[in-house]
Each structure stands twice: as C-alpha cells, then as structure tokens.
C-alpha cells in the first residue's frame, strides 16, 4: 500500500509538471516571448498549487474517494489542456490568455490538493518526518524525470497535444489503481471505477483523434467561412469569405483581401507601366491569382503577358473558377496571356526572351528557398531578361515593419547593376507596403496614370516616393546566396513586429 501510494505520488508529480511545461511551451509557441510566458505560467501554477494545498484542509472525510475524483479531474483537464488551449487560440484569439491562466490555475489547484491528500492517506502507516521526506523526494524525482523527458523525447516525438493526453491517461491510471487499493473502504467503488474508465476512454479517443482535431482547428483559425480549400503539391490554398470580403491564404498566410487588394495591385503595376507607353511584352513572376495581370490588361498596347507561377492548380483555379475568376476580371482567360507553370528562377535561366516590363510578385523571404528569389544572382538573371528601356518592379515587404529588409533588397538589386527607385503604399489589411522599381536608366515618375484606377492618381503618386524617417535604414548588407542575409534580417524584424 505504502509503496503503491508513493508510486502514485511519483506519477502525479510528473503529470503535474508536464501540464505546466506544456502550458508554458504552448503559450510561448503561440504568443512568442517565451520568458514572459514561462515565468507567468509557472508563477500562476505554483500559486494555484499553494491555494490547492490550503484548500485540502477542508477535506475531512472520505479522503480516498475525494482523491480519486480529483485525480480523474486532473487527468481530464490536464490531459486535454493542450488541445483546449490550441482550439481556443484557433477560435478565439484574445480570450486565449484568460483561458490559459484559468486552466493553469485550475490544474494547479487540483494538483495542490492531491499531494496533501496522499499524505493523509499514508498518515496511518508512516511517521510524519518519514512521510514528508519520502513523499517530497518522490515528488521531486518525478519532476526531474519529466523535465528531462519533455524537451528530449516527448515534445519532439509526441507533440504537445498528445503528450498532455498521455499524462492525462497516467492520472486516470492512478485513479483506477486507487479505486482498486481502497475498494474495501469505498462504498460505491463500482461507480468510481466506471467513471475512471469513462475518462480513460475519452482520453484515448483524444489521443487517437488528435490529428483530426488539429486539422479541424486549423481551418477554424481562419475565422471567416471557408469557401474553397485545395491542397496542391506546392501549397495549401484557402479562400475565405465574410460578406463581400474574399481572402486568399496560401499555407496560412494572407495573400489578399478583396476589399483592398486593388490598392496593392494598382501600386504594383502602374508606377512602372504608366511610364512605358511602348511596352509590348510583359513578364509576371508569381502572382498566379491573376490580379496583377488584370491591371496590366488595362494597357491596350501590351500584346503579350507571360505569367510564370509554380502551381498549376492555383492558376487553373483563378482562370476557370466562377467566383475566383470574377475577382481578377477573367484576366487569365485573355488571349494575350500565356500561363507557364514553372520554378521562376530555373525557367528564367533556361530561356533568352526579354521583356519591356517584369512584375515580380513573390512571397516575402520567410525561408531560405524564398531568399534565393531576392539574391544578387536572381537580380542578375532578371536583368538579362529586361530590355534596356524597360522596368521591373518587385514587391518588397513592408518598409515600415521591416525597413532593413526593404533597404537590403535595394542594395542587392544595385549590386546586380540596377538603378533602383523605391516607393510604398498603404494597403490596410497588410499595412504600409513597399515596392522597388529596377531599371537600367534613372526612373522618371509619370505625370498621369493613363488607365482607370480606384486608388492611384497623378496627385498622390509623388507622395508614394517619399519615405518618412521611420521607413529608412542605413543597412549596407547585400543579400547573396552564400550569406542569405535577408532571411535572417527579415525574420528578426517581423519577429519583433508580430509580437
């Protein structure tokens, strides 16, 4: 009996610590700033345990039964804690913190009650000094074990959700064991056993269904109704709709909102094209949604538009789907447009055609693969495809949130021999957004925008070229393939901006 209870203490202690670690790790993972998350979670948890210990004095009778109930509660709450937290985060957002600390407090209180209860169960068999010393040492031993196992084995192999479910199962096992040990003294021990098995079943189901649960919550994270999802070999495409607002997400990252995408795409295309009245051939890299092409088609002198996008399903969707093709005004169905599904840089290297204008609409440099598309090598290859009088324009992340990144792109394009001219525009869903014009000769701003627009006009155009102080940076670095400096700086800047 005594041994059995000490083993229980060991398991309980491990479980308690796991829930605390999972909550700390999960919240730092989701919210960032791990120091704050860990210390507030641990603080709350320890305090709650204190509250629990204090509360335990109010339990006088039927200690074994109370212990079993509490054990089952800890098992369920703790076991599902990671799943609950993640679902909350996906559904709700801000109340997340409230739920986090509530859950941590609740588990802390319950765990705080547990240990004193075990001590009282053991009271009859042991001297006080012995009791305290063995219970506490086993308690700390359990803590040591999981604090080592968690980062090395559990988190990487099981993940947060399944780790906490697993330890929930351990808690229930202890409860069931206790039912067995005390079956003589517990009146309705059958009921307790049934309850324990029910909880066990729930946790097991959770453990098995964890993957489905995650997928479900992922979808809910987008908030609005999902009208379209597609997993292609290249990305996960999700289109959501809320009233008249369509939003496109690629791999979970917002690409546009139909409410203000015109601001983005007009800014991307017209400062260049308004100065190229003789442009015939235009190349678009990225931009498989056809929005940039829609703006380009407003210039009747453009004869051929080549759109290079990696993902055939993406371009096909925006060409043929009735809802999506309406967003780009059927641009991809125009006979002037040729869609090429290829890896942009590889494709450019392999062919010799040159263009009057090139619109570069790649994702931001969030990883090393994308970083290559902002390297000196890339701009050198781009330059080979641009006619001497031509202009290229590159979307270049936000000069407000990521000024160093923005100006590093500028340095890099210059290192490839380009003249560069930067400008920026406000796109409410994104914030202040940056663009860069690349050319052989100095760029001249147009005096008018010769095509119909909703946002850009001759009066505001010059203001886009003015960079306030907070969008400046004196960074000197160049993004080369061998240093991938941009990805590092970009990560720093956005990491800070997203906190």
């Amino acid at each position: 009996m005594q041994f059995a209870l000490l083993v229980s203490v060991f398991v309980i202690a491990s479980c308690g610590l796991i829930y605390e670690l999972v909550a700390g790790a999960l919240s730092s993972y989701l919210l960032g700033d791990s120091i704050t998350q860990f210390s507030t979670v641990i603080g709350t948890y320890l305090f709650a345990m204190g509250v629990g210990s204090w509360l335990s004095r109010h339990i006088h009778v039927r200690i074994a039964e109370r212990f079993i109930i509490i054990e089952i509660m800890v098992g369920l709450l703790g076991g599902f804690s990671a799943a609950i937290l993640f679902l909350c985060f996906a559904f709700a957002g801000e109340p997340f913190r409230i739920i986090l600390y509530f859950l941590v407090s609740l588990i802390g209180i319950l765990v705080g009650i547990e240990i004193p209860l075990v001590m009282r169960l053991l009271e009859k068999d042991l001297k006080l000094s012995e009791l305290v010393s063995s219970v506490l040492s086993v308690d700390y031993l359990g803590a040591l074990l999981v604090s080592v196992l968690f980062p090395l084995l559990l988190a990487p192999h099981l993940g947060f959700v399944r780790t906490s479910l697993l330890f929930g199962i351990f808690n229930i096992a202890v409860a069931l064991w206790a039912v067995h040990l005390f079956k003589k003294t517990i009146v309705h021990h059958g009921r307790y056993r049934a309850l324990g098995f029910f909880a066990l079943l729930l946790l097991l189901a959770g453990f098995i269904g964890a993957e489905k649960l995650m997928r479900f919550s992922e979808l809910k994270m987008y908030g609005d109704d999902i009208v379209y999802t597609q997993s292609t070999p290249y990305q996960r495409i999700v289109l959501t709709r809320w009233r008249d607002d369509f939003r496109l997400y690629l791999n979970g990252n917002l690409q546009f909102s139909s409410r203000d995408e015109y601001r983005y795409h007009e800014s991307l295309v017209h400062p260049a094209l308004a100065t190229l009245p003789h442009a015939r051939d235009v190349l678009v890299l990225g931009g498989g949604d056809g929005m940039a092409v829609r703006e380009l088609l407003k210039y009747s002198h453009i004869e051929r538009i080549t759109l290079v996008d990696l993902d055939p399903q993406m371009t096909e969707m925006f060409k043929s789907d009735s809802v999506l093709s309406k967003l780009n005004n059927l641009s991809l169905q125009s006979p002037k447009v040729t869609v090429v599904n290829a890896d942009a840089l590889k494709w450019m290297e392999a062919q010799a055609q040159s263009y009057d204008a090139i619109v570069v609409d790649f994702p931001d440099p969030t990883n090393y693969a994308l970083g290559k598309l902002y390297s000196v090598t890339f701009y050198q290859i781009l330059r080979r495809h641009l006619r001497p009088q031509g202009l290229a324009v590159v979307q270049t992340t936000s000069p407000l949130y990521a000024p160093k990144s923005y100006w590093m792109v500028n340095n890099t394009a210059r290192a490839a021999g380009f003249n560069t001219t930067g400008y920026h525009a406000l796109v409410p869903t994104f914030g202040e957004w940056g663009f860069m014009l690349l050319s052989e000769k100095a760029y001249q701003q147009p005096t008018q925008i010769p095509v119909p627009t909703r946002f850009l006009n001759a009066a505001i155009l010059p203001t886009l070229f003015v960079f306030p102080q907070d969008m400046q940076s004196d960074i000197q670095e160049i993004n080369r393939l061998d240093n991938q400096a941009l990805v590092r700086v970009f990560e720093q800047e956005w990491g800070a901006a997203l906190r």
Partner: protein
C-alpha cells in the same frame, strides 16, 4: 510561387503559425521501417583483381604516342590540362573506369546530380596558384588571379546556411559544438581555436608558412618534423586539451579529410588540416567553399570536355616496361578486351601508388600509404518540408557517419520537395584491412539499416521518405597520414625513372584536390622541360 504577394502580408502571429503548427503540436508517430532498395556500386573490381593477379592477354598490336598519362582522376586531368594549356595536344589520357574523375566522380538521377566522392573545394589561397589558374580558366574565378581575395562565381560559392550540427536534440548552425556544452569544453574549444590561429601564422626559417596547401609549398624547415613523430591525439594532450567535445570535433574533421581520427593521424597532418587554409573571396566569407550539386564533379566534367580528344576511358594500363629511350605500356581496352602496346617517350602514372608495383614489377621500392576505406551513400528523399533540410552539410554529433550534404542545395530551384542526400562514412574504427573486408562483405541491407540508425536521431521519418539508396564502396579511398608519413614522402617523390613521372595525391600523403592537382601540374611541367 504563390499568388498575390507576401507570405507575411497583413499577418498576425496567429496566421503565422497556422502553416507550421501541426508538427510541433502533434509530434510524430513512429512506424516499422521498410528499407528502400538501391544499387551497390564501387570501382571496377574485376579489373582490379586482374591487375593484382596479372591475368591479362598479350598485346596484339603496337602504337606510338609521345606522352601517356594513366589515370584520369584530378591529378591526371590536371596534367592533361597543363599540357594543353602549353600547346601540347599529342598525348593520351587513359582511365580504367568508364568515366573520368577517380575519387571525384559523380552521378545523376531523376532528382539531382550528386557526388560519389569529393564534394567541395575550399577557397584557394595564393599558394594554391594552379588551382586559381584552373578556376579562372573554367570561369569560376573572375578578375585578378593573384588578388588576395578574388571574386568567384556566386553560383559555385556554397549557399547559406552551409553547415549545421545536430547536438542535444536540436540543430545548431556551424559544425563546432556550441550549444548545450559545458564551460570547460567551451574554454578548450576557444583555446584550440586560438592555438590553430597561432599555428596558421607560423613560418619556418625559410620564411614560408609551415602549413599551407598544396603542402609542397610549405616550409622545408626540419624543425617541424617532430610533429610527424606523434599522433595528433598525443599532441592535443600535450596541450592539455582533453575535452570530449573538442576531441569529437577534431575526430570528425580528420575523419572527413583523412579517413582516420586523431589517434591514427600524425600531429603534423592534424595541424595541417586546421591551419593550411587562407583563401579569401571578395564576394564571400573566407571560410566559404566552392561546390555544386555534383560536388567537385563539375570540375571533372569541364576538364573531361576540354580533354575529350585525349581522354580514353575504359583503358587500363596493365604493364610497364621502362627502357632507356622509351617506355612500353600495355593497355587493356575493356570494350574489345584486347591489349595494345603503347610505346611512349614519357609516361605519367596518375593512379594510386599501391597499384604501381602490380603493373611495373621492376620499379624501385617505395613505401605506399595506408588507405582508409569509405562508404558513400546517395539517398533519394521525398516529401521534404523546406524547414527540415535547410543546410548544405548536416552532421550529427557523435554520429556513426560523417553526416550528409544536400546535393540539391546549390540549385536555384525554389521548390525542392525531393532531394538527394549524400551520406559519408569512413570505416575508421577498424584497421584498414579489416575495414576493407567489412566494407565489401556487408550487404546493401546491412549498410542501409546502419545508415538509418545513424540518421534517425535527427530525422525520425527518413526511412519513410527515402525511396532509394545507392551505395558506393571505396576500398582504397584515401591515404591516411599516419605518424612518420612525412618521411616516407621522400621515397615517393623521388624520380623513379627519367621517363616515368608519378602524379597523384598519394605523393602528398593527404588526399585533397589541391594536392592531386599540384602533382598533376608538376608532372606536366617536368615533361615540358625535357
């Protein structure tokens, strides 16, 4: 790739996580492995055996050529390059295998080109003059070849991130252990780095660097020969450097270059490894290297093209008879299975030294090196997540093997869901003979199981992602510079016969591109001088 613009446009931290949350929150489940199949390859051993046993038919006809080079590895190819560069085109370059390259050969499958051997060339310093000339000829080095820091073709400079180490359950940047190691290990690593910097600056009485590459350009000062009397391990211990972490790092480095660790390698060679490089680039960090999907194979391909008129693959030199005014060389043609006698004025032996006595029974005695056997595996891996495989070279701390390079790393392709990982393993835990036996006796399955066991720590799912493993066994991969090797070099570098030159990295006792190339050029220069 995608449409619209930025991945991060208008993002909240919440959005940011959607794409990546699954793995961390769910972890990964393990499943019973299914071993992928593949090829079990190696140098042509039927010819190797025949060479050892001398079972070749007699020559059926005789032809004449002024210069004959046997072996189209780095040394032989560069010998030919230098001759051509100096206007000499009347020579033949023979290669036993069906392709040139020797230890620098490479392969290609549907996913990528990949190395079977040498995978990188560090930036050459000014002592590696011929390497710079070659790179300039190949268009890889631009501008002044004598500049301290010339400009290199950005496509060949290794892309970032270049190296990473899996230690204490996570990847760190760079191969020197830094994360989660004790204070004393940290201190010793610092001491070691300081010592190596100091030795890197050291010059002999003749004003030359003690350690440089090619090593023949280094100081001849005999004062440093004491370093060749002890192992590098003993030397480290003399410096009071005993940390396991440091010793692991040193062992990894030496096995990677010499096929044996500090317990076998001479202190001179150990110091040479850490102190010989001073190359810089105007457009890269000074510790950068030149590489391509096929490793150093790009150089072999380019040189093979230049030397196409002279290169004869599938031709093995099987017998040498050296006379006063000519050399008679019997050459076995694998395609026709006949032997031709080639009478030449000059013969360059650009093949490993241990083979030479088998084809030239009358040769003066020289001491050949010990050779370390190696295994190279090319793993075709699918469904790769970008963030999983970021670096060019990935090493596992205290791993069995030497880690792997991602052969697709140097491509400009954005989307690389399939990769070829080139895994290196030196059988340094056994004596060379036994190791060679083990290398050849073990089955494809045995090796595959061992490779996955080694990589599992860092890549628990690799077995499921891997669709093929092709293996190349190198029984005599490279010379091991054991203590005393510097003194045996004298016998190897002597002139064996006025009409026979030896050109091979074995002459340096360390198997590196710069060394092989140096001896190839030197042999050509001697021929030009006669």
């Amino acid at each position: 790739m995608g449409s619209g613009a930025a991945v991060i446009k208008g993002i909240t931290r919440r959005d940011f996580l959607i794409g990546s949350s699954g793995a961390l929150l769910l972890g990964c489940s393990e499943q019973a492995p299914r071993l992928p199949s593949g090829l079990l390859l190696g140098p042509d051993h039927s010819i190797g055996h025949k060479l050892r046993d001398g079972q070749f038919p007699v020559a059926t006809r005789e032809i004449h050529t002024p210069i004959l080079i046997a072996g189209a590895g780095i040394a032989g190819l560069n010998c030919g390059w230098w001759l051509q560069r100096n206007g000499i085109t009347d020579f033949q370059l023979l290669e036993l295998e069906l392709v040139a390259g020797g230890n620098t050969r490479s392969g290609q499958n549907a996913v990528s080109a990949f190395p079977w051997g040498a995978h990188y060339l560090p930036l050459p310093g000014t002592d590696a003059h011929y390497v710079r000339m070659l790179l300039a000829d190949l268009g890889a080095l631009q501008g002044d070849i004598n500049a301290l820091a010339p400009t290199y073709d950005e496509r060949l400079l290794v892309q970032a991130p270049d190296e990473r180490l899996f230690i204490n359950g996570a990847w760190q940047e760079g191969l020197i252990p830094r994360v989660g190691i004790g204070a004393s290990a940290k201190r010793e690593i610092q001491q070691f780095e300081a010592l190596m910097n100091e030795w890197g600056e050291r010059k002999g009485a003749d004003g030359r660097y003690v350690f440089t590459i090619p090593s023949a350009m280094g100081s001849a000062d005999p004062a440093f020969l004491v370093l060749d009397k002890i192992t590098f391990k003993d030397w480290l211990q003399q410096q009071n450097l005993r940390s396991d972490v440091l010793h692991w790092y040193v062992s990894y480095s030496l096995r990677d270059d010499f096929g044996a660790g500090q317990d076998r390698v001479s202190a001179w060679a150990g110091l040479h490894y850490f102190c010989c490089r001073r190359g810089q680039a105007a457009n890269a960090e000074s510790n950068s290297v030149l590489t391509s999907p096929q490793g150093n194979g790009w150089i072999v391909e380019r040189l093979s093209k230049i030397l196409q008129p002279q290169l004869k693959t599938g031709h093995t030199l099987v017998r040498i008879d050296a006379q006063f005014n000519s050399v008679s060389a019997d050459v076995y043609d694998s395609a026709t299975q006949e032997v031709i006698r080639i009478i030449c004025e000059q013969l360059v032996w650009a093949a490993p030294l241990f083979v030479l006595p088998r084809v030239w029974p009358a040769m003066p005695h020289i001491i050949p090196p010990d050779y370390a056997p190696w295994l190279v595996a090319n793993l075709t891996v699918n469904n790769i997540e970008e963030h999983e495989f970021t670096a060019w070279d990935s090493v596992i701390y205290q791993g069995q093997g030497l880690g792997y390079v991602d052969s697709t790393h140097q491509t400009l392709q954005f989307h690389r869901p399939q990769r070829v990982l080139t895994y290196y393993h030196t059988l340094s835990n056994l004596a060379p003979r036994e190791a060679r036996q083990q290398l050849l006796a073990s089955s494809h399955e045995t090796w595959t199981t061992q490779i996955f066991a080694d990589l599992r720590k860092a890549h628990p799912h690799l077995e499921k992602q891997c669709s093929a493993i092709d293996l190349w066994r190198w029984p005599h991969a490279m010379a091991i510079p054991v203590p005393g090797f510097r003194s045996s070099l004298l016998s190897r570098q002597q002139t064996l016969h006025p009409r026979i030159q030896v050109a091979h990295s074995d002459l340096s006792g360390v198997s590196l591109f710069e060394e092989a190339q140096y001896w190839g050029v030197k042999a050509a220069q001697k021929i030009i001088a006669t």
